[in-house]
Symmetry: C2
Subunit: 108 residues, 2 copies
C-alpha cells in the first residue's frame, strides 16, 4: 500500500494527472511563469530568482522536463530551457470542458 494505483486508470487519465503533478508545486509554477516572461531561459538565472538551492531547482527542472512541460537544449556554454506546449494543451483540453459545466440536477 502507498503506491499510486495508476494501472487501474486509463492512459489519458494518467497523462493528465502527470502533467498536473508537474505543476503541483509553487516552485515549478514559478519556473513556468519565468520562462513565459524572460528573454533568456538559462537555468542560472532561474537559480538567481528563486529562494531555493541549485540542486533543488535542477530537480524541479528535471520533473518539468520529464512531464514534457519544458524542453532544454545546449546553447553556448549553458543550458537553455523553454516551454513545451504539447502536453500543456492536453491539460487545457481536460480543464476547459469543466468550465462550461452546469449541474444537470439541482443539488449543489
Amino acid at each position: 500500500m502507498g503506491a499510486s494505483k495508476s494501472s487501474a486508470f486509463t492512459k489519458k487519465q494518467n497523462e493528465i494527472a502527470n502533467i498536473a503533478k508537474a505543476l503541483s508545486h509553487p516552485a515549478r509554477v514559478s519556473i513556468v511563469q519565468l520562462l513565459l516572461k524572460k528573454e533568456s531561459c538559462v537555468c542560472g538565472t532561474i537559480v538567481d530568482e528563486l529562494p531555493l538551492a541549485q540542486a533543488t531547482i535542477s530537480q524541479h527542472l528535471k520533473e518539468l522536463k520529464l512531464a514534457g512541460i519544458i524542453k532544454g537544449s545546449i546553447e553556448g556554454n549553458s543550458l537553455c530551457y523553454c516551454l513545451d506546449q504539447k502536453n500543456l494543451k492536453l491539460l487545457s483540453e481536460f480543464i476547459l470542458p469543466l468550465l462550461h459545466y452546469t449541474s444537470p440536477i439541482k443539488c449543489c
Copy 2:
C-alpha cells in the same frame, strides 16, 4: 527538510499549485470526469465505478473538496457532489497564456 517551501512563493502561485495538486492523481481526474458526465453525483456511485476502496475514495473526494474543485451537499439520504468552477478557472487562466507562447530567442 522535505517540507514544501510554500512561504517563499506568492499566494497565487501556491493557489495554482494546490489546484494542480488536486488533479495530480488519476483517481481524482477520473472522479472529475465522472461528475462532468453523470446525472447523479452521489459518492456511492463513484465507489461503484472506481477500483478503489470506499475509504480511499472518500479521501480523494475530501482533497478535491478542500481544493475547491468540487462541492458537496446533503441530498435526501446521501451526499451529492458537483463540480465547482471558481478554482478551475484560476488554473485555466494560468495555462491558457502558456499555450500562446513562442520562444523569444531561437534556442529550443
